[in-house]
Symmetry: C2
Subunit: 462 residues, 2 copies
């Protein structure tokens, strides 16, 4: 007997793995809201959802990505002896997916994919080992119109990112560049075969400064000081978008690729203006290069203007060939990835996330045990009119029940006792203002909707 008791005492410590997080309702409710808005934007452009497995054959995942990614992979041998790994991004699975299903999906193909990815990163930098990516891509076309659309989707998402309201969020900018411009410039300088180390160095400009970049270009790419300074001059072009583009056009006039890159950016700016984007939303920024090798055209980064240090919250670009490791078919495309966790950290830092632990606007306290069926009837009626209702499950002092509701951020309470039932009314309490009014049961939904509309709260169910 005593050994059984001892056994019972040995509790397993409830804990999460280092670098992994639980999300409580107050974190998840605004997250789900923003995710729903992101998906709305994707869908409004005709992007379609896909999903792929969390586990892939290791050879699929190791094919690309480089040493850094390979080291961070969660990999193991499954019980069937297969070498497998958990996806570390959504691009590699999408490349595999496209190659595998090309005949079914056809081109052009526009997909979005919101899902978790895993990287065994150093957690000291405040990084997580499990995080969410929100990718969208258009493949099977080289048309600049898909670059335009990518820019517009990024814009539309960030405009809707304030969970507190439906108002347009404006405090962000989207930086545009083109690898064609950078490659064109390198071509003119005779450095085109060194573009990878040079662009890697250039990517560090904001972090390490001009002199260190020049030194790195010399060291890793053999660029002379003069060549390196010439690249930096192009990359640091200042002025209005038009001035920068004119300067580039002049600089690159005998280089077809570079000239094409300038034309692409002009098309994007023109179309964005036609679509109604504010004039200062898009910024030509020749300094962004995006480290990854596979970008070949337009490049996108985007920043919260009040928190630029956060880094780009949504980045992407055009590439020549998505799935070359898995198919001979050339699949050009363009897309971007929203870093939901980073964006969320930014919104939190800017005070834009209001904590709420409820998904409803209305609470019904359990006031009279004999009336439980009546409470279910009232709640069902309100739900049929689109009003979410939480019922407290058990009898308790009214004050304690209302405190529970208020703490969760529920706005209204409906108090109904046997007197009220006899008279066909309910007491509608505003837990925020403290006011209350007697309302006929048949007019309850209407009163609630009126109250909520007159002073909308950023509630979970909005």
């Amino acid at each position: 007997m005593s050994s059984e008791k001892e056994l019972k005492k040995k509790l397993i410590e409830p804990r999460t793995l280092k670098g992994f997080r639980d999300f409580l309702p107050e974190a998840m409710i605004p997250r789900e809201k923003i995710i729903a808005r992101i998906v709305d934007v994707y869908r409004s452009y005709g992007f379609c959802p896909i999903d792929t497995p969390v586990l892939e054959y290791l050879e699929i995942l190791m094919g690309k990505g480089g040493d850094e990614t390979d080291k961070q992979l969660y990999r193991f041998t499954d019980s069937g002896g297969r070498e497998v790994g958990m996806r570390f991004d959504l691009t590699v699975p999408f490349a595999r997916f496209s190659a595998q299903h090309l005949a079914e999906i056809g081109t052009p193909f526009k997909r979005y994919h919101l899902a978790k990815v895993w990287r065994g990163e150093n957690t000291q930098a405040g990084r997580y080992r499990e995080f969410m990516q929100c990718d969208f891509d258009t493949i099977g076309t080289t048309s600049v119109n898909s670059d335009v659309e990518t820019a517009l989707v990024i814009n539309d998402i960030l405009e809707r990112v304030d969970p507190r309201s439906n108002a347009t969020f404006t405090k962000f900018q989207i930086h545009l560049n083109s690898r064609k411009i950078l490659t064109g410039a390198l071509d003119k300088l005779g450095l085109v075969d060194k573009s990878t180390p040079i662009l890697r160095a250039l990517d560090k400009l904001a972090k390490i400064g001009k002199d260190a970049v020049v030194a790195e270009m010399n060291q890793t790419a053999g660029a002379s000081e003069e060549q390196a300074r010439a690249i930096l001059e192009i990359a640091s072009a200042q002025g209005t978008n038009d001035e920068i583009l004119e300067g580039l056009e002049k600089n690159l006039q005998e280089n077809d690729l570079g000239t094409q890159g300038v034309a692409d950016l002009r098309t994007i700016l023109d179309a964005a203006r036609a679509a109604g984007a504010p004039a200062d939303r898009f910024v030509i920024d020749v300094s962004i290069a995006r480290g990854l090798d596979y970008y070949t055209g337009t490049i996108f980064e985007s920043f919260l203007t009040e928190y630029p240090k956060l880094g780009s919250v949504c980045s992407g670009g055009r590439y020549d060939n998505l799935a070359e490791l898995y198919t001979k078919q050339t699949l050009p495309g363009v897309g971007a990835s929203l870093g939901l966790d980073r964006l969320f950290a930014g919104l939190e830092e800017l005070g834009m996330i209001e904590k709420t632990a409820s998904t409803v606007d209305v609470f019904i306290p359990f006031f009279d045990a004999s009336l439980s069926s009546k409470y279910f009837e009232i709640a069902a009626g309100l739900r049929r009119q689109g009003i979410g209702v939480e019922l407290y499950p058990e009898p308790k002092k009214l004050g304690a029940q209302l405190k529970y509701a208020d703490k969760k951020g529920i706005r209204l309470a409906i108090v109904v006792g046997s007197d009220e039932v006899r008279q066909g009314v309910a007491m509608l309490k505003d837990l925020r203002s403290g006011g209350q009014e007697e309302v006929k049961l048949e007019a309850l939904a209407e009163s609630i909707l009126r109250t909520l509309a007159s002073d909308p709260t950023p509630q979970g169910n909005a």
Copy 2:
């Protein structure tokens, strides 16, 4: 050079692991639609979203679940030497979560969690190794009102499960039982300490028949033939809900627990009627026992009436103590889990899933290369009015572009050439009916909304 070429030729075969699936748009679009409706229902009752990591310490996952689950676990040692595993259900992570965050979340606590789980199951039975669960639970209360709510949530979800329309789906039934009734009956027969093997045998009634169940009860629990037949008689009670409950009441009248179980089921039926559920929606079914040890009260299963062989699509019940492995705090609760993949297989079998590969209702072909900014302007205007629009990205024969749209199931196309721009009009084509009309650009949104409303399609963006 030739070795480089050879290297390039060696493609990695694009394939998914056995038991894992890709979801293409035509599968994902209806899935996302149903998921959104499920979430809507959860939220309308005040259930809140949470999320937990895919990976947990192995000791957390191995604590419960039994040999079968342990064998199916995807487990490995991470690069930090930790023994970890991928979750095989959402209940164990929720138990761990509740124990870990109890002070923050408080009780009663109502959460939902939609997420993937992994089991290395035998794939021959048409089972998948990665699948989605949709769980909801109310913990921290023993009130039967939470049982009522669980029943109502299952009902509301299944009523909304037809992705083709907003009409109420009615072809399902929710079976109710209570472990209290079964335990009460076993108590009367002096078999209460054998309840686990007896209920396991009973669970197989529909599959293996009465005689085999009697034999198993004898073999695994030492029940006499008489005892086993007595249990089966209770479990096979036929008649209306009221008749069955009256019979049970008589049978169990001197057994407190059993009598309580009958009262619970009566309360659920009464409240469901008050909430407007049809009289034949809920069925008292004493034969359902649900194998899992941890249920102690009401039990729920639900079946599509036109496809009962599919098995229960949403099951659950009341339990006494969710998190006993991780905390000394007793956490009673009640909840259920919707098997999305099984439900979806059922809806497909019943012809309720219409294939669509588009998330929009409107298509703009790329008709005149000089007008691309105009197309972006028109599309942006429509999106601002809530109308999703897909633009074809490149010039191609109009017929080919319209065929692309029609194949994806996009309903309307807006054809605009330079003549139309000059006149401020567009040609609005109904790709389904073949009809077309000239519409003023400023009246385009209105015309589109009118056309869609007059003959709504089960489109992705509905």
